[in-house]
């Protein structure tokens, strides 16, 4: 039986993120850059039907997407796990007003992390999100991407929940450093 994780290769899953979000009628993408999101960011920045907003810190994305939703539009927040801590108090906006919130978080500080400075926030990210009432799912293999984002988006936009899909370091691959 074929391994389902080979249905998409390592480069395809990054494009899949963009294509899945496009099927969800996402009009706004707020992000702090991460290598794992680089393909989606590039495609969204080139997409004239989507407003791409580069943030100075991840917490800006939560009120931005709240404002966009007030105006009638759906959006998504892309960040790395180190940015989760920056969002904690701002999540009280989502919690009080029940704004839909869809976040895609590339993980650092787990399997094969060479920079231990990433570990404290990376290891705490999912629990911290859960403490603030954010629902979380982990994608470990490329074939899970579409399904997990679709399901999270349903709960966010149809049920006014805060939802995060964590893209694991195993999925993204070991970060290589060239001199």
């Amino acid at each position: 039986m074929p391994n389902p994780s080979t249905d998409l290769d390592a480069s395809d899953w990054k494009s899949q993120v963009y294509h899945t979000l496009k099927t969800l009628d996402i009009k706004h993408v707020a992000y702090v850059p991460d290598a794992g999101h680089s393909t989606a960011i590039k495609k969204f920045e080139a997409d004239g039907n989507v407003t791409s907003v580069v943030l100075t810190t991840e917490e800006e994305g939560i009120p931005y997407l709240a404002g966009a939703w007030l105006g009638g539009d759906r959006g998504v927040l892309l960040m790395q796990s180190s940015g989760v801590g920056n969002c904690i108090n701002m999540l009280s906006l989502q919690s009080n007003a029940r704004f839909p919130l869809l976040m895609l978080i590339t993980m650092r500080g787990e399997w094969a992390e060479f920079n231990q400075w990433q570990n404290p926030m990376g290891q705490a990210a999912e629990a911290a999100l859960n403490l603030m009432g954010v629902l979380t799912w982990r994608a470990e293999t490329p074939d899970q991407i579409d399904d997990l984002i679709q399901g999270a988006a349903t709960m966010a936009f149809d049920g006014d929940q805060a939802c995060a899909v964590l893209l694991s370091q195993k999925l993204i691959g070991k970060k290589t450093w060239s001199k």
Binding site: H28, L55, P63, Y64, G67, L70, G71, M90, N96
Partner: protein, 193 residues
């Protein structure tokens, strides 16, 4: 700051004259009370927390509703927490967004401690340096009227720091029910919930 400081309620009332379909976002604390005191409105989005979030809610509204004027009314302390957001907003540069900072140089909700603006930081100059189309430091009512006209002109990204008195005024409290306020704005904009 000049000697004859403006009254915050007078400033906000002047900004909201003939507001029509202007969307208003308020920063937590006194700016929310000021906007409520000027008259509750379906197109007001009041924040009671999420400090540092007001300007970015305004940006999200401005980008999703390009045909509406969007006015953020917030305090110096709330805006200081989001100086990076001024850079984010300047990169987007929506021509329908105005940020009006009610600047009394103090943290009014917590015991009137001196803020950074009370120690000399000028937020309008921060906005100018990151590339806002128009910025001003306002200390008289004629300039407030001019700012109101700029909001309705909808042709520039504006930021004004308005020097107001730190004198306490009566608290006029808007609803703290975030879901209600959210749904009220969406319904007023013709959206189905």
């Amino acid at each position: 700051m000049s000697d004859n400081l403006l009254n915050r309620r007078d400033v906000v009332s002047e900004l909201l004259i003939d507001r029509a379909d202007t969307l208003v976002v308020t920063g937590l604390g006194s700016p929310s009370y000021d906007v409520m005191a000027a008259g509750d409105h379906d197109l007001n989005y009041y924040l009671w927390g999420a400090m540092g979030g007001a300007a970015m809610v305004g940006l999200g509204l401005a980008k999703s509703r390009p045909d509406n004027n969007v006015l953020v009314i917030t305090g110096d302390g709330e805006m200081l927490m989001a100086m990076g957001a001024l850079a984010t907003i300047a990169v987007q540069a929506p021509g329908n967004l105005t940020i009006a900072i009610l600047d009394n140089g103090h943290y009014g909700e917590t015991g009137m401690q001196l803020s950074h603006t009370g120690r000399g930081i000028e937020l309008d100059r921060v906005a100018a340096s990151v590339g806002f189309d128009w910025t001003a430091r306002i200390s008289d009512m004629a300039a407030v009227t001019d700012l109101r006209q700029r909001i309705h002109a909808r042709n520039a990204l504006n930021c004004a720091a308005i020097e107001i008195s730190a004198a306490e005024v009566e608290k006029v409290l808007p609803s703290r029910d975030g879901v209600y306020i959210k749904n009220r704005v969406k319904m007023a904009l013709g959206q189905t919930l």
